[in-house]
Symmetry: C2
Subunit: 369 residues, 2 copies
């Protein structure tokens, strides 16, 4: 059990934005709540599943909705505590620890904010190793752990408890309620015992993104050094350098959806890359060919600052460095791909692991990171 | 406490369709569930609030959605029992009796079906004295009784518990979930103790519609006699006779919405009436002037059969007799109109009680019913 100071919270948010692949909301805003809760209630505690008894109940708090809407609604106030207390009532048991659902600027630090506020420890782990647009896209779903009961709450004290028969239905119902709540809402679900979760999560992921965030902080001001540090710590491959020459993005059904086009610069002059968005960057194509796709992580760094850009912060003319980062191996199994692979996201191309992509092989044989 | 046989169930459904003002779904289908449950579990019992202890808990079961969708989904199976059991869990108390939310072809007999199935008596009363498109439009809302917790369930075992801070929010959230459930769903809410409900409901309304339904049955085959019996028992005023010459109706956001135009026949030849629909008939205009509006009841009878037509069963060319029926006086108070008057339904004209409408005065002075 360790306590996290505000520097650690900011490092976690900053590092999370790398693995979030464009999703999870703005990391700066992500820390506001956690820092404020720390100021009011003391620092959050980090723990592991191995430090908790088998029968302790753990749950995953999250923000659901379109990241563009988080910008307006953030920082969240009481709604997350309302949702957590309602879940405790439904379960008839106290929540012994909080588990981050995903690695994302807001969704990684949100459990820390709630943990500080409710004096509940947070597990140094997450359920995706990245961010995903829909709440059924988690390794917990691969393991058959139900999302229901899931509670969704707004800032006015309204809440809804979803009891669905499968996790896609939980996602559908929670999403439709979040849209009514103003395109974003606080939620908590995927409650399970520690024993059930021990082999279902990605362990140590908060510590991992904290070390990434720390390296980024130490290199701040030197974009190339920041990108180099990130690449080293995540074993990333640089997929492309380019400038945004068109950007088509809107909020549909509670998601940020769209696509954008990059014109190559430097060594990539003369090539074009398109990237598809559904809250996260999902598919990168070079000259029409898929070179990286979910479940692998596509991260887009601002060439001017070296910092990752979320999908809602892209603007025409931005110069970007596109990185590919390999996902957790469990995503690459048949059941993993059914939950988080291209087909689940509406695509009909077969998944090729990032390391086997011709682009990656060409880049790495050329000595690029 | 009395038991209802299948003739009584059919009479209740038939009579309800008169006061439902075009809403509440097809009365024939409304009885299918109740008759089937009676066959399986024995007849439903009718009771009154005065026969129950003060602290007994009562709740209102209902179908929420667009009546057009009821046609596809009906008859409902287990979802209502799933919802009722979930509400009992949330309340931590058994439901001692069921209270019909509205008078409508399906929503009046649905509590009887559920009552037979779960062996729970049904109160001879309702909360509107008519049907209304939205679930906050009830005298219980006028009395400040919360709709939440409200449970909404589908036929696949999915359910959602809505804890909203006011009844308009409960309606919004329950409706949006019902749309995801395929445009119609089973629900139960407005739970309260008998003591709290005693002066909040319209008493004896099931017996009232039963007597209307019985008179209709006895006059069946003679449309003019059916309409005459209905008019006498409801003190209705005949507003218009005409033929549908245009009909614009669709399902939007979980409601049947639209308007239709009648060309006068008989004594009304040369005049035109338009009627607005939101699940129910809400406003009748003669030559552009409002002659009747909610909360008063506008009922549309098929001239060929004398039977009331629901909003989803209208067809081009139908010949209709339009009746106006006065609503319960509590709807005419300031708080009543705020919950169920023209302004709440999106209109900006002031409410004029049916009896004070120039059309009613002219008709009655001419000796018409």
């Amino acid at each position: 059990m360790s306590y996290l100071d505000t520097t650690a919270l900011r490092d976690i948010a900053r590092g999370s934005s790398v693995l979030a692949g464009g999703g999870g909301g703005d990391p700066f805003r992500g820390t506001l709540s956690a820092v404020e809760m720390t100021r009011q209630y003391g620092p959050p505690r980090l723990t592991t599943l191995w430090d908790l008894p088998d029968d302790a109940v753990v749950a995953c708090p999250f923000i659901i909705g379109a990241p563009l809407a988080f910008l307006e609604k953030f920082p969240f106030g009481d709604e997350l505590a309302v949702a957590a207390r309602e879940l405790q009532r439904v379960l008839g048991a106290p929540i012994a620890a909080l588990l981050p659902a995903e690695i994302g600027g807001i969704n990684s630090t949100l459990p820390l904010a709630l943990g500080a506020r409710m004096n509940i420890p947070v597990i140094d782990a997450d359920t995706m190793g990245r961010a995903y647009p829909e709440m059924d896209m988690t390794l917990l779903n691969v393991e058959g752990i139900p999302a229901a009961p899931t509670v969704v709450a707004d800032e006015h004290g309204n809440s809804v408890v979803v009891h669905a028969t499968n996790n896609v239905w939980t996602e559908t119902l929670a999403r439709t309620v979040s849209v009514k709540f103003g395109a974003a809402a606080a939620g908590i679900g995927y409650s399970a015992t520690v024993a059930r979760l021990r082999h279902a999560v990605i362990e140590g992921s908060l510590s991992h993104v904290r070390s990434i965030g720390q390296a980024m902080r130490e290199a701040a001001g030197d974009p190339q050094r920041v990108i180099g540090a990130v690449s080293r710590l995540t074993d990333a491959v640089e997929l492309f350098r380019g400038k945004i020459i068109s950007l088509d993005r809107e909020i549909i059904d509670g998601f940020v959806r769209g696509t954008f086009l990059l014109e190559g610069i430097g060594a990539d002059t003369g090539s074009q890359m398109t990237i598809d968005i559904q809250n996260e960057y999902l598919v990168a194509r070079l000259g029409g060919e898929v070179v990286a796709s979910a479940p692998d992580i596509i991260t887009v760094m601002d060439a001017a600052s070296g910092l990752p850009l979320t999908t809602e912060s892209l603007r025409y003319g931005y110069r970007l460095v596109v990185l590919g980062i390999a996902c957790d191996e469990r995503w690459r199994t048949e059941t993993g791909l059914a939950v988080g692979g291209p087909a689940r996201l509406g695509y009909d191309f077969p998944y090729v692991p990032l390391e086997d992509s011709p682009r990656t092989i060409a880049r790495r044989s050329a000595g690029a990171p």
